[in-house]
């Protein structure tokens, strides 16, 4: 290897044009060029035109966003964290709709969403250039949540347990669940299956044991389960756990459940996606819905109207709006309050009284 290069001071960066180059080409100061872009009132219209013109001809693409953010101390980016492979988030229409409503709420304020992937590794959370965080469905004791709070940035927790260092936005999960269970009871169902979402980050499937039920990590699951129990008093309940919020998964679990407990005549599903799986299972078994089997979902997705699914509606759009508002308040240095939004049972065509005999 040759020991030393004669031209050691070669600029390694590809010939990137900066404010300085433009300023030099014009014989003005960099401050003036910067002002041409950011504060047109600080220089004469004529000079501004010349600056912009020169910049264009030099191939200058405008002030570097990164340098600007560093200097200004603001990025205009909100980090979104989801405590599961992020692909699941997109596979879940309810999550996608929520993200859509957040987007809607913040896009007029020059804010954008950065999706932080890979939950088992907290590095992205530690090294993301963001002004604030949204944490969606993280378990209360997760490393992820801890890493987020460690950043010390404004944080909004969605559908999670409250935390002193963050704002919490959620829905009345238990209330909606209670209504749903009550509805089945009112119709006369005595044996009711419950298709749960994940109870915690560790993926399990099958019947939920009482001790497992006692240590549920996700607030949503926990609350809905409590709601079901309080609304279905007097009935026999058969909760089963799923490991992914997907129709296929719902179908499999429901088939298992009905095989183990043929006396079940009603199904409470913690999501419309799982309810879709229940619908498939019923079709597979040749059961008529609702004559042979009643099914209730949760979320009220757009497709559920088409399925004529009885379900629990939740104000997804409102939720996004509240998250957005809270974020804006926190970023402006104001306080924001925890919010719990209402839910409501929507009775459609997948529920009826139980069959007299099977």
């Amino acid at each position: 290897m040759p020991p030393a290069k004669p031209f050691a001071k070669a600029p390694p960066r590809g010939g990137r044009i900066t404010l300085r180059e433009v300023a030099q080409a014009l014989g003005v100061s960099v401050a003036t060029v910067s002002n041409a872009y950011n504060r047109p009132d600080q220089l004469s219209e004529e000079l501004r035109e010349r600056v912009l013109e020169t910049a264009r001809s030099l191939g200058y693409r405008g002030p570097d966003p990164l340098a600007r953010s560093l200097r200004r101390g603001r990025t205009g980016v909100i980090g979104v964290v989801y405590d599961a492979p992020l692909e699941y988030a997109f596979a879940d229409p309810a999550a996608a709709m929520f993200l859509g409503s957040v987007t809607h709420a913040i896009q007029d304020h020059a804010l954008n969403l950065l999706l932080l992937a890979s939950p088992e590794d907290v590095t992205p959370v530690r090294s993301a250039s963001v002004d604030a965080f949204i944490v969606y469905c993280a378990a209360d004791d997760s490393d992820l949540l801890r890493a987020v709070l460690d950043r010390g940035l404004p944080t909004v927790l969605v559908d999670q347990y409250a935390h002193p260092q963050a704002v919490q936005i959620g829905i009345d999960d238990a209330g909606g669940a209670r209504e749903a269970a009550q509805h089945l009871r009112d119709l006369g169902h005595e044996h009711i299956g419950i298709v749960c979402l994940e109870l915690g980050p560790e993926r399990h499937t099958g019947p939920v044991s009482p001790e497992r039920e006692r240590s549920v990590g996700y607030r949503t699951t926990s609350e809905r389960l409590h709601g079901y129990r309080s609304g279905a008093q007097g009935a026999a309940l058969y909760p089963v756990e799923t490991e992914q919020n997907a129709p296929q998964e719902g179908e499999t679990r429901v088939l298992e459940l009905l095989a183990a407990h043929p006396e079940v005549t009603g199904l409470l599903c913690m999501s419309d996606v799982l309810a879709q799986g229940a619908l498939r299972a019923a079709r597979t078994l040749g059961l008529d819905v609702p004559a042979d089997l009643s099914i209730i979902g949760y979320d009220d997705l757009p497709s559920s109207t088409t399925f004529n699914l009885t379900t629990v509606w939740q104000p997804t759009a409102d939720k996004g709006r509240h998250v957005g508002d809270s974020l804006l308040a926190l970023l402006a240095g104001r306080a924001a309050e925890n919010v719990t939004l209402p839910t409501r049972l929507v009775v459609r065509a997948t529920t009826a009284g139980p069959p007299r005999l099977r």
Copy 2:
């Protein structure tokens, strides 16, 4: 709309701890503290421990990601641009699934997705700190696309016309459409309705005139329309335009279409979501599917299995993977090639021969 400038004034940068503070507290240089985080082999284990310990006790939260990015010239962020209100993207399960598959493809490479909202304003595109762009479903002549290409960053175009300055990843839109149309023809349908996605960024609804059909801005719509026409030769075709990819919208347009053309016995929908609307319309009219009306969708969403919908499958996961791979190649300075992925008709239970008489 006035340009949003929410945080013109930065918040008080009250006592933020930096590398320097930590270095001073220890009496070492900032380089050493930096090395403690980034290159542990550059200092003794003992000193490194002390640095980390001091940092912790001082409340230092680790190297600022922004400053690091500026210095390193890399952000680890990919900008995603969608040529419609971003909320629509989330409302469309196919788009959400695609985003999910991209996420999956890049998350092992320390890359994250930044969703750039508000398409009518190109500011976010101009001022986003990203290493590369993904453009999804933008019209060929849109300001948005131009703004993206102006940034001069690696760019992948998805479901769009090819462009010399970018890599294009797409599917065989026309092929799938042709198969679908052919299928209806083979079954004997003579009068076929076509429910189109948006033809261009300007929202229209209702019947598509021949001249409008000639100037379709979105490649997906254009290709599928061509495919339908080439597969349905000999039949009378009635294309109608929608302004949003949503079930409700599909229902409305189909009701209009069937009112205007009662002789229609088959429907080609450019998305499963629109096909869902068709299903609703049929129910509203008391028509039996497929006895009275055949319906074919496009995308093959998970819910379409439940609906038993005949539809055109597309390799969403593959698409995301290819986008991810191309991005990685471009970021590494390598070249990447345009890719067109196959599509395939999936026949389920919503298609049959036309009724003899109505």
